[in-house]
Every structure is written in structure tokens, then in C-alpha cells.
């Protein structure tokens, strides 16, 4: 039992370190990609190729003045930034990143724990992140954060519905909630081939859940100053961004597990590359896709945003369920 705990802690620390590195360099990548898309360089001076920029930013933020807004609800005001990072860290507990390895005669699966309700757990955990935004927006007792928080809550729950419905087709085909089973099912063919509509719906809903452009109404800087984090400073402010980037990494990882074959190599002759490397490559590709989308499209108007979710995506995701069921029964035949 003690050995099992030690192994679990080691796996957790490795996952956490990789997550934090991806978050740190995700912020740098965001600035670099946005720079090059807008025909400028982005950060240049911190270390070779600006590779030390994330650490410089972190240190700077720790030593900034920590403002506590005078009319705020102190408890929620401090609680919100703490909650912002928790959902992403909770999610790493069930994400599989490779087949098992054998060390000292023990077979160690490369996932913290392969629970049989992993998908339900992920959905439950990810819905926590709305609390950070709503508490942060409400507690500061200032008008712009309040508007940002309200918008965010309505947007988040609308797209949560689509997120839940879009993965239903995958669950029907695989017949399991376990992410490991879902990845094993894709040994020969990626799920995105069977479920292209579900993949598109999942990516749209995930982008909206992450509050990223073109769905970044909660923090629309040109209308709401900064949105729900207007009254925060120092590392409390940065926690919301750490949370956002960590959620991006986790969402990319889940998309890879559900639709893009997890740690399996897409082509047979590259199968000698270890699974975790493949997994990382796919996560980075999806992450880059999210950055690319952000710097390419303009923002929705709020009524368009809500209408888009309820009037178009919801019927489409229901159609996807019926079509998947029908295809499994009548075309493939062998249910």
C-alpha cells in the first residue's frame, strides 16, 4: 500500500510538473504566436529566444502590490483565485498519457488512476471553474467584474450542455466512461473518423468553456475593462490566467484522449516513438490550434453567442446522438 502511494505521488508530481511547464510556455507561446500573426516579434529579451520570460513574469507578479479592494467580500475575494487553478489540477488524476511501463519487475500503468467514471469525473470537475469566475466577479463589488461574471456564468452553462452532449457519441461507440478504454478502442482508427461532428462540437464548446476568443465575452477588454478579474492584482490576478492556460492544456489532453487516439502513433512506421511523446505532440498541436483560433477570429456579440449555443449547437448535438445510434444499429449492424 505504501509503495502504491509513493508511485501515485511520483506520477502526480511528474504530471503536475509537465502541466506547469506547458502552462508557463503556453503563455510564452501565446505571446509569440500572437506576435507573429500580427507581424511583430513578441517577447525577445529574457534569455535565449525569450525562453526565460515565463519565470521573469512569475517573479515580477509575486513582488507586485497585492491589492484588496476595499468594498469587497474578503472571503470570496481570496477564495476565487484559489479555485481558479483547482479544476485543472484535479483533472490530471484521470488523464492517461501512455501504455504501462515495467520498472523493477512491477507493471506501472501511465495514468494516476483508471477509474471507471473518468468522463463523469472530468465533467464534474470542469464545471467547478465557473465558481472562480462568478466569485471573482461578484466579490469585488465593482460593476465591470460583476457584468463579466454574470455573462460568464450564462455562457458557461450554455456550452456545458453542448460539451456533455457532444461526447455522447464516443461513449455509445466505446461503451465505457474510462478514458483508458476509450484510448484502447482507438488503437487502429481515431475516433474523429467516426465522430467528426462530435469533434467539431467538442472543440467549439471547449473554446467557449475556456472563455477564449471568439467566445471571450466574460473578459471582453474593449467593453468590460478586464472582466471578472478587473479588481485583482499581483499573483491573485495571475492565478486566473494560470487556471485558464492549465484548463487549455487539460482540455487539449481530453480532446486527444477522446478523438485523436491518445498515445497511439497515427502511422505504423513511427510506432517506435514512445506513447507519452506522441501524447505530448498531439496536446501541443491542439493547444496551438486554440491559440491560432484566438488570434484569427473577431468576437461574437452576446446575443449571437447565446443563440449560437442554444439554437444551432444543441439540435446538432442531438442529431449526432440519433445518427450515431442509427448508424451503429442499421449500417454497421453488429451492435
Amino acid at each position: 500500500m505504501l509503495l502504491a502511494i509513493v508511485i501515485a505521488v511520483i506520477k502526480m508530481l511528474i504530471l503536475f510538473a509537465v502541466l506547469m511547464l506547458l502552462v508557463a510556455y503556453g503563455t510564452l507561446a501565446e505571446r509569440k504566436v500572437s506576435g507573429h500573426i500580427q507581424d511583430r516579434y513578441g517577447p525577445l529579451y529574457c534569455g535565449p529566444k525569450a525562453l526565460l520570460q515565463p519565470f521573469a513574469d512569475g517573479l515580477k507578479l509575486f513582488f507586485k502590490e497585492d491589492i484588496v479592494a476595499s468594498r469587497s467580500d474578503k472571503f470570496l475575494y481570496f477564495l476565487a483565485p484559489m479555485i481558479a487553478i483547482v479544476p485543472a489540477i484535479l483533472a490530471i488524476g484521470v488523464i492517461p498519457f501512455g501504455e504501462s511501463v515495467t520498472l523493477f519487475g512491477r507493471k506501472i500503468p501511465l495514468v494516476m488512476t483508471d477509474i471507471n467514471v473518468a468522463i463523469l469525473y472530468l465533467l464534474a470537475v470542469s464545471s467547478f471553474s465557473v465558481y472562480a469566475i462568478v466569485f471573482g466577479g461578484w466579490s469585488a463589488n465593482s460593476k465591470y467584474p460583476l457584468l463579466g461574471g454574470l455573462r460568464s456564468a450564462a455562457q458557461f452553462i450554455s456550452y456545458e450542455l453542448i460539451l456533455g452532449l457532444s461526447i455522447m457519441g464516443v461513449l455509445m461507440i466505446v461503451g465505457s466512461f474510462s478514458l483508458v478504454d476509450i484510448v484502447h478502442y482507438q488503437r487502429h482508427m481515431w475516433m474523429v473518423v467516426y465522430q467528426p461532428l462530435a469533434f467539431i462540437l467538442y472543440m467549439i464548446a471547449a473554446t467557449a468553456e475556456l472563455n477564449r476568443l471568439p467566445f471571450d465575452l466574460p473578459e471582453a477588454e474593449s467593453e468590460l475593462v478586464g472582466g471578472y478579474h478587473t479588481e485583482y492584482s499581483s499573483m491573485k490576478f495571475a492565478m486566473f490566467f494560470l487556471g485558464e492556460y492549465a484548463n487549455m492544456v487539460v482540455t487539449s489532453a481530453v480532446a486527444v484522449c477522446l478523438f485523436l487516439g491518445g498515445w497511439y502513433s497515427p502511422v505504423a512506421f513511427l510506432a517506435w516513438i514512445p506513447g507519452p511523446i506522441w501524447f505530448l505532440i498531439k496536446v501541443v498541436v491542439i493547444f496551438f490550434f486554440l491559440l491560432w483560433v484566438r488570434w484569427t477570429y473577431p468576437r461574437f456579440r452576446y446575443d449571437q453567442l447565446m443563440g449560437f449555443s442554444w439554437k444551432y449547437l444543441l439540435p446538432l448535438s442531438l442529431l449526432n446522438i440519433v445518427a450515431t445510434g442509427g448508424a451503429m444499429l442499421f449500417i454497421v449492424g453488429g451492435v
Binding site: E65, A69, S70, I85, T113, L314, L329
Partner: protein
């Protein structure tokens, strides 16, 4: 064999611990130069007018209620989706009926204008 649930407690401890430590160090490091104007709510530089805790647009509540209704239906669909292969044609027809009911509610809600944002 499926894994145990206890590693998730470790992850929860890590997540909460990380949040508390970062917010704590952010509060003790760094200078402290409070000033009534600096700490007042930000309203583009002019003096804040009134309180932010005012009544807001009722439509947010409507969306929240709709979410509750529809999300309940989604939750009912999960167990069906996972056991779809063993349910066969009967299960499929049942789900089509369920989705037709779902769509009936949806059409009603849409017709009443609950999805229009002013």
C-alpha cells in the same frame, strides 16, 4: 481491473495546497502602500457611483433554469449511451422517443422567446 479512487484525494490536496500557497505568498511578498482611492472599485478613473450589487437582467435566471432542465435530461442520457450496445433496437427507439420529448420542450421554449436575448 479498474483503479482505485484514493489517488484523487492526493490530487485534490495538491490542487488546494497549490492555490493556498500561491495566494498566501502573493499576499505577504510585495509592497503594501494602501490608499483609499487605489482600493476603491475601478470605474474608468471617475468616482464610483452607487453600489455594484444592483438588480440585473432577469434573462440570466431564465438561462440558468433552462440549463437545469436540459442538463437533467443529458444526465439521464449518459447511462443509456454507455450501455447502448446491450440495449439494441429497443434502447434506440426509447432514446428517439426521449429526444423527441426533449425537442418538444426545446421548441416550446424557443417559441416562448426564452432563447432571444432582447
Amino acid at each position: 481491473m479498474k483503479g482505485a479512487y484514493w489517488p484523487l484525494i492526493l490530487v485534490l490536496l495538491l490542487g488546494v495546497g497549490f492555490g493556498v500557497v500561491v495566494v498566501f505568498f502573493s499576499a505577504i511578498l510585495g509592497p503594501k502602500r494602501p490608499d483609499p482611492i487605489k482600493l476603491s472599485p475601478y470605474e474608468c478613473g471617475i468616482d464610483p457611483i452607487g453600489d455594484a450589487r444592483t438588480p440585473f437582467f432577469v434573462h440570466y435566471y431564465v438561462i440558468a433554469l433552462l440549463f437545469l432542465i436540459f442538463d437533467m435530461e443529458v444526465v439521464f442520457t449518459y447511462p443509456w449511451a454507455v450501455s447502448f450496445r446491450s440495449l439494441g433496437l429497443f434502447g434506440f427507439i426509447e432514446m428517439v422517443v426521449f429526444i423527441v420529448v426533449f425537442l418538444a420542450i426545446f421548441v416550446y421554449v424557443w417559441g416562448r422567446g426564452a432563447l432571444e436575448w432582447e
